[in-house]
Symmetry: C2
Subunit: 221 residues, 2 copies
């Protein structure tokens, strides 16, 4: 199909398609002439995936490219899974500098806490994993804003995260035959489960709040 039809099929403006191609998110069509190219179903699907990752997944164009590149480059299924996981952005920026002694102490405390948690969960993750560093940064940020924050609470969340990850992997690696299909599914599961889960959590929170109101009736403030 021509680009105009691709645009209609995927619901994406032609100019945006060109933009995605420029940015390396979408492979070029098969050129049939100097100024004409043929696109296929895989382009439609890719565009749908791009839209889902950017809107629902909240990924930037650069992050989306990284994820899609990771899918294409790794050669084993597990390699792809790992690459996707690492390519997904974490919402934590590295803190600027650890100049003061206080900062260094915070850093060390957070590192210990993360290491303890990983040991307690018996997680097999390398210290160099971006997720480990991300979690360390996140804990430092939490501590800065909430002095009362109790580290022990993390363990309960970690146990639930473990259950979630098990579900994720079951969904992602369902059919282990076609590495490409697994990878695309894994992208969807890894990148798009988060917002869905977050929404479910909000719904459950809302329910919890209502239940507490009902329980306490007309009580306090």
């Amino acid at each position: 199909m021509k680009i105009s039809e691709l645009s209609r099929r995927a619901g994406v403006p032609v100019a945006s398609i060109k933009y995605f191609r420029r940015e390396g998110l979408l492979p070029a069509g098969r050129a049939t002439a100097a100024t004409l190219a043929e696109y296929g179903e895989e382009h439609v699907q890719r565009l749908r995936l791009i839209k889902a990752l950017t809107t629902l997944g909240g990924l930037s164009i650069a992050a989306t490219r990284d994820v899609l590149t990771a899918v294409g480059e790794a050669h084993t299924t597990d390699g792809k899974l790992g690459a996707i996981s690492y390519a997904l952005p974490v919402p934590v920026a590295d803190s600027p500098v650890a100049d003061s002694a206080q900062d260094a102490a915070d850093q060390a405390a957070a590192e210990t806490e993360v290491a303890d948690l990983i040991a307690a969960m018996d997680w097999q993750t390398p210290d160099a994993s971006p997720h480990v560093r991300g979690l360390t940064e996140a804990l430092k940020a939490l501590r800065r804003v909430d002095a009362d924050y109790r580290p022990g609470e993390l363990a309960a969340y970690a146990a639930l995260a473990n259950s979630i990850a098990r579900l994720d992997l079951e969904r992602a690696a369902t059919f282990g035959d076609d590495a490409e299909a697994v990878a695309e599914r894994a992208v969807i599961v890894f990148a798009l489960s988060a917002p869905v889960l977050e929404l479910l959590r909000r719904l459950a929170q809302e329910d919890q709040v209502r239940r507490r109101v009902a329980e306490r009736g007309d009580a306090l403030s």
Copy 2:
């Protein structure tokens, strides 16, 4: 303290403090003269909270203002909790228009699915809740990108989300005396647990991938 000291204490440039004040995120200091104001500890804490919400929580300035406003406006503890929850942005944009019959069918299917889930979980959430609408949109987006997506899988995630929400509420409503303190804690729990949980999920995923590699040894691609 003067604004320059506030800046040093919170690690935020003076220009940014002025910006936050302009945008309604930070209350003005107590004016001691036409060109001088006095700031207190509450301003330091507020700035820390703003930084945490924007960097770790990923909230925009506008969303941060909405959340902080919600905390200040509602008068009951439960009202505050609800207001905060609703003020937090969901990562799902409303789909543009439901013009075609296909879109209408998708919408109806997603709505049914969400309603069934809520019924199955016995969640007490109004149909008009933004979270319900957000979840509906998210499911539509998922369906568009993944035809194989199986609705049943949602239930398992919902159950886990429920456990998470219970933890959240326990943390948020620990001390029920000071409505203001509860509200600030709730903001932290509601807005900042998500990235931490996501990081934990990524770590657990990484662990799962490694375990599967080890299990299968040298097996397949």
